[in-house]
Symmetry: C2
Subunit: 239 residues, 2 copies
């Protein structure tokens, strides 16, 4: 039985927790140094350290070694990972306005993975687009999209925010499902900087091949989601 069964501890803990939840401290705000923070809540430094431990476990704050303790922002978007939506749709669902910053658009030779993913032999050139997707102007997702340039020529991709809609407009085909790999990314030299991530802010990468209802492979995407903005959940069942 540790310090946790101390009612003074529980009372101070719930005061701090309540203050964070009702917004006394702002998302990403750095909390006062431990000795000052302890004074505010009239506890010892030792107890305040245990309180912060607990809040770290509850994911209300993050401790950055040698830097300080920061209030975690609430994710803007939480969704079942098995639900496929375009990034624009996900941002809209969260009540935010989606935007796009183009980083690059080019025509490239297919890589070995592209041949595997698109799985047809007459794949000649790939239209490859890199974009930053924003929510209310803030960068939250980095998207690398690849399509067969004979199906959706790269010049068309600038016209619309949603590649799902663009593919539908050009080909009449609708994306029905995707096979996705889920990968954690600690820090990406290029992408973390573009998404304004602090060094300890991680990304969730979904590498996904999209198919039409006739199982035709039509779009490959790598989406890097800022993990403080997007939260995914899943129901796992015993097989």
């Amino acid at each position: 039985m540790g310090i946790e069964d101390n009612s003074e501890f529980m009372q101070a803990l719930s005061k701090v927790r309540h203050d964070i939840e009702r917004g006394v401290y702002l998302p990403n705000e750095k909390l006062q140094p431990l000795y000052e923070f302890a004074k505010i809540y009239q506890t010892s430094q030792e107890m305040m350290r245990a309180i912060v431990d607990q809040l770290v476990e509850e994911r209300l704050v993050t401790r950055r070694l040698g830097v300080g303790v920061f209030v975690n922002p609430k994710p803007i978007y939480s969704s079942g990972i098995e639900e496929l939506g375009s990034v624009s749709e996900m941002i809209k669902k969260a009540g935010k306005v989606p935007g796009t910053q183009f980083v690059a658009a080019e025509i490239v030779e297919p890589t070995k993975s592209d041949y595997n993913n698109f799985n047809y032999s007459d794949l000649k050139l790939i239209a490859r687009v890199e974009r930053v997707r924003t929510a209310d102007g803030e960068p939250v997702v980095y998207c690398i999209d690849k399509v067969d340039n004979d199906v959706v020529p790269v010049g068309h991709i600038h016209r619309q925010d949603s590649i799902f809609n663009l593919i539908h407009t050009i080909t009449g085909k609708q994306i029905e499902y995707a096979h996705a790999y889920v990968e954690p990314i600690g820090y990406h030299d290029k992408i973390s900087q573009i998404l304004n991530c602090s060094p300890d802010q991680s990304l969730l990468l979904l590498r996904q091949m999209h198919y039409t209802k006739d199982d035709e492979p039509i779009l490959y995407s790598e989406n890097y989601f800022r993990s403080d903005a997007f939260q995914f959940h899943v129901v796992r069942k015993r097989m």
Copy 2:
């Protein structure tokens, strides 16, 4: 049209790729410095840099800034994220022998999240266990498990590797499904070290509440998977 449509490039690329795939370079092996590596394949340093770029994209190698280029190990385990198995089962499926190193076992007061997760008011004490799970002796998953100490007393948890089996033995109840949150972790001060991760090796955290077929919450787990050893995929469908 970049350097990729150069047939010399494509030939050298496929030679290096082939050598990595057939095991000329071992998993986690550091490749020679660029100028030496270029010499071996009789290419220019510039072209070898483009080849390495491509192999990074194909996830065959990882570039650690200022350190070098390393061959990626193949994941030992790849599974649908919606399939719930115990960690022991997952390691066995990969043809490896699961093992356990106990880190801590203690009885603690429930946190606010515990009350939310277990969702009954007569929750008094939590049995909390931290373990390192190994595959053929190598640490691959860090597990924090919590159960109601009145249901599964903490003293019992040492006896068996699989908490799923232990819960079944003691209570007669079987775990049927879990609600899981999927979270990328860049570097965890404690856990990354215990799992022998290099600073750029990330972890996938599944925070999951397990239920019986009668929807009774029975086990809360946080599993930190080394991302080079475990790979998860999911089929995402349009709603």
